[in-house]
């Protein structure tokens, strides 16, 4: 096994990890501010891929330019989902019930997509999906590089909003003590709706990059959700920056094991490492308590 093969696996892992981080960011954000496990995250990613497909194939809009339409649309969708489904959940059983409710949302989304698009596989295409550039002896696909940069940018924006703005402080205050936040004038329902809107809007970008790097059908989201949840757990529930690191760790580890040892063992090695990390750090790499205090 050559050093260049391992180096290529590491590069692939970092770039693909960025794509997974983009997909997981909304999941961890919504959990971080609302204690809601959004099982519909996979379905929302697939919905984002289909929206990009429609804009690209039927309206001729570039995949990245299309985000100017899909991100606001997903923000509105997130606000609607919060209002229609999540707001009704009582604080005491919010997390457990959220799994059932968001699973229903996933089924609804899958059903609608199946009716409209059928179940045949699709993939987003653009010139940069297959184009590469040559650097240090490696061919790097533009789509993965662009996806990684997009992930860094959007996760940076999310981090800034949540941890460096007045709105972000309101979000975290509402989470820690709803009554106290309301007493000082924070509109908790509004803050939560906006938070879910932001989380879902980021998912639109994740969906586009996912659709450009993978074939998908309306049910593809179910394959994603377990991996996204494992990323969020490894990162520490609610940690947005941690999701990026955890995603890169997961995919890089799997890619290197696949090249050095065997693809069969790649997933197992990752999950063993997840168990080891959680054994010593039960709150994940960047645990929830620390995250909320940032």
């Amino acid at each position: 096994m050559s050093a260049s093969s391992i180096a290529k696996a590491v590069i692939d892992g970092i770039l693909t990890g960025g794509v997974y981080a983009l997909m997981a960011a909304g999941l961890t954000l919504i959990f971080g501010v609302m204690d809601i496990i959004n099982i519909a995250q996979g379905a929302l990613i697939v919905l984002g891929a289909y929206m990009s497909y429609v804009l690209s194939v039927h309206l001729g809009i570039d995949l990245f330019a299309g985000l100017l339409i899909t991100i606001p649309a997903f923000f509105a969708l997130g606000v609607f989902i919060e209002w229609a489904f999540m707001r009704r959940l009582h604080d005491q059983d919010r997390t457990a019930m959220s799994i059932l409710v968001t699973y229903a949302v996933a089924i609804i989304i899958e059903g609608i997509l199946s009716v409209i698009f059928g179940v045949d596989y699709l993939q987003l295409n653009a010139s940069y999906v297959n184009d590469t550039f040559h650097i240090f002896g490696f061919y790097l696909p533009y789509i993965y590089v662009f996806g990684f940069l997009l992930a860094i940018a959007l996760i940076g924006v999310l981090y800034y909003i949540l941890y460096r703005t007045h709105f972000g402080r309101g979000v975290r205050g509402a989470l820690q003590n709803r009554s106290a936040a309301e007493l000082i004038g924070v509109n908790v329902n509004r803050v939560r709706a906006l938070s879910v809107g932001i989380g879902v809007s980021v998912t639109a970008a994740g969906g586009m990059v996912f659709g450009a790097t993978n074939s998908f059908t309306p049910s593809s989201g179910y394959d994603l959700i377990s991996r996204l949840l494992s990323i969020v757990v490894l990162a520490g529930l609610g940690s947005i920056g941690g999701a990026l690191i955890a995603a890169i760790f997961m995919v890089t580890l799997e890619d290197v094991v696949a090249v050095v040892w065997s693809p069969v063992w790649a997933t197992l090695v990752y999950y063993v490492s997840l168990i080891v990390v959680l054994s010593f750090m039960p709150n994940g790499l960047f645990g929830k308590a620390a995250v909320r205090a940032q």
């Binding site: 290529k8 609804i108 899958e110 059928g118 699709l122 696909p141 309306p218 799997e254 696949a258 790649a266």
Partner: protein, 431 residues
Amino acid sequence: MTRSSRRGWMLSAAAVAAIAALIAGCGGSSSGTSSASSSPSSSASATSSSASKSPVTIGTSLSLSGDFAADGQAFEKGYQLWANDINAAGGLMGHPVKLDIISDASSPAQVVTNYQKLISSDHDQLVFGPFSTLLTVPSSKVVNRYGYAFVEGAGGAPAAFGNGLKNIFDVSLPVIDNLIPFAHWLATLPASERPATAAVATSDDPFTQPQFPAAIKILQNAGIKIVYNKVFPAEVTDYTPIATAVASTKAEAFLLGSVDVPTVSAFIHTFIQQHYNPKAFIATAGPDQGAAFLKAIGGASNAEGVMVPNGWFPGYPNAASQKMVSEYVAKYGGTPSDVNADVAEAYSVGQIVAQAVNATHSLDNSKIIAYLHSGVTLSSVQGPVKFDSLGENGSAAAFAFQWQKGVLNQVLPVGATGSKPVVYPKPNWGS
């Protein structure tokens, strides 16, 4: 929980349930139980005697959602086409056929529950098989417990015949023979044209893995060096390192053990990105999915020269097959190239069961099982069917097909009826 919040939650939950049920009902493909029977037009054309008799209900579990949804829905179309045709011809022993189709969501656990329901609760007189070896293996055991004949079209891997069951019959090509024509063709190429090296990567799946040992042996005996041979799990986070590792070997032939379009698509996209173009490329499944395959890989120009093994293709020179393809296009639209092998495999199941019922003049499953084991040669849209002691179709012929200018053509065996010249070496991607 306050009364108002509880009321709000209950209303919300009820709304979710109602919408989900509505969507499932509209789609007919997401979940739950759906029943299907022959179309009104075909029923109307059935003989008056069949219309007056009670229907024969045939149950089947299909993957109408989940990983195998595309294949499952193609199977549903194949079963429906057969049901329409048999009803138009007067039904089974004069009884109209009614299909009882329920979705297993591609789940090996759900498929077992479904067949228990079809037999013990719905009291269907006959059952047809599901899609894939993965679902056929667990379901065959429960069907056997009830003594039902289990004729299926997509469970041809050795795992389906390893339980000593006498009720299972696969009408399609045994998958263990799938890659033999391709391997023989490569091995018999003139030495100057024959690939010096080959790479093999296969999904950890009962359908794909059994296809490779015999093919690899043929290649090695011909002096072709296997420079990469690895198995990857069914669910892969990132195909890039595996495909990149294959590309780095610069193998002149590549054999991919795939079960679906996404796997082939991921390898092709990575090969394009890594500027790797093998002289010969065959994938065990995916390229046979017609338009869905072309859409996923970025068009026909990327498919040129890609091969797939199978026992049937839309241009198969068989009168019944051509009639079925015409009916498919008339009913579902598209072109003959859009009709994938799943449709023919499902249609064949119906044909074989109908011939057994007519020959035994009975819906008695024990008589049907005995008849199918009698060594009789039957006919299907995929060609002759003759079951061996295990229930495999020993008469099925193995072919290989190749995408050529947007059409999937039969190319192997060389010189066989209907075979066109192989495009070799494979043109560069996008050309």
